[in-house]
Symmetry: C2
Subunit: 338 residues, 2 copies
Amino acid sequence: MSGRHVGSQSILLERPPLILQTASAGGLLEQQGPLGKALDIALSDEMNHENSWEKAECQMVLSTIRRVIQKSGLDTAQVQYILAGDLMNQITATGFAMRDISIPFFGVYGACSTMGESLQLAAILVSGGFADYALAEASSHFCAAEKQFRQPLAYGGQRPLYATRTVTGSGAVILGHEGKGRAKITGITTGRVVDFGIKDANNMGASMAPAAAHTISQHLRDFETVPSEYDRIFTGDLGQYGLQLAQELIERDGFQLEDRLSDCGLIVYDRESQDVHAGGSGCGCSAITLSNYIIPALEEGKFRKVLFVPTGALLSPLSTQQGESIPGIAHALVLEAV
Amino acid sequence: MSGRHVGSQSILLERPPLILQTASAGGLLEQQGPLGKALDIALSDEMNHENSWEKAECQMVLSTIRRVIQKSGLDTAQVQYILAGDLMNQITATGFAMRDISIPFFGVYGACSTMGESLQLAAILVSGGFADYALAEASSHFCAAEKQFRQPLAYGGQRPLYATRTVTGSGAVILGHEGKGRAKITGITTGRVVDFGIKDANNMGASMAPAAAHTISQHLRDFETVPSEYDRIFTGDLGQYGLQLAQELIERDGFQLEDRLSDCGLIVYDRESQDVHAGGSGCGCSAITLSNYIIPALEEGKFRKVLFVPTGALLSPLSTQQGESIPGIAHALVLEAV
């Protein structure tokens, strides 16, 4: 058997898929951030040589996928599945990019948790022997997301200080069993939808914190382990205030986190020198941090074992207009040094 | 090993998951159609006791999932995963329904191919031993979809005769290995994105036909088989004219279809007596036809083996406004009598 269900929401991957290669792309602000130098693709500007932000994101997705395949040394035909998604309505940034890539495609939507969802499903495909190689990807674009979810940028609206900034960026990962792994995936905990009733569409951190806390606590219970087993636990994009809330909720569940909980939104930007309010967010936030920070740290021996927990807020502008609160979800993956 | 990759896009499921139970819901027009009597849940009207079409769809998703679990005789906690999606921006009909169901959730977006995508991933989870039971679901709502993709209904716009009508309906399937199966899934072919350059957002049939043809021809090549091996090949929602196009394209690939190719959009409605133009469409179209027609026919011995091929058009209103053509995708599953 290639995997075993443990506890109520988790799988222990008995044939851990290797993370063979990663690639990332980022916009101008991301290039200036702490992970900017490690970007594989640096966008010239938010338009990325296209005539709309949406097409810019689509091209970014395409370039990132092509780059990770190229870096892996595989032929495109060897990659048997792509699992990917983004924040655009009908995930068009991803769907349209797939026109130029002839690989079977599973489109996923997990809002900003997409890198967690696509990576879990890719791990299942590879670990189960259904694919030799599978590619997981996720992307977001600041301008396209603001226009769609909040206000047109030209309107010049002020975002509150507790708001996060959607990352313009993407990350792609190739999983397989053959070859030199940069890290491996040994376990996964798939999230449930959790809604604590937050209705402020600028307050993504607070909306997602309960889901992050639920998944992390459930992960620890399912694997009968404790936070100190992990060098670090990375939530996806809670930002400064959401992270504090998640920390409090997990500790209320009886787990001592000490200083182990971090958030990709506080790694991808430098809040001291960059005007990003509470931190970074969007699918690209955890995707870039995974590719440019977490995997390299596992590879260099800085970390031995981490929990990677992309977080998503499953709202739409219409659901907010209809008075609905914001459901959150978070998916956890155990990443270990090879 | 639980599955074996065959050809370039397919998996032979060596431990075929059983379809243990199905359930379906439908609106008024669907109740009057040929499959109406077999609906598990008949909506009172398009509002489904809610105050918006979107909330009506969300409640329909919730009821259908609860009903299939109840019919299966399982406890909710035994169902380890839900894979589901819909047509709404950010798949909110599904995401919001998940607030009331505490089961780990993978949100998928494949437009009207969603029932194929969710069912393939559920089959992989169960066949690979990652889950004892997994639930796949898909839904669509005529009013919510028209409002979002085309025109507000109150505008009273005329749809061209080659347009299809989005089904108000949903279907859910529970897969597992233990228990009495109503049918089984023995193979899957995951689609690539195919775009022949159609730009008319009313002409979904023509947009999706090339993807349907590509997946079906590739399936036949991957499994080294011929159409006559199947009692019937069901595309998801091409409608009358899309189906003719797909038939022509598959025959150009060298396969003799005779009268084996059918479309769920021509089964869910009676085009003679119901005002649906070219037929039915939407995620609910293939989902209801699977639950109310295909599975019962396999169970009753009317069919021995069929190919079920939900089809999706990956456009958004914004992509159309930006002058993009419409990419299509189609996912095929081999369904056999137990």
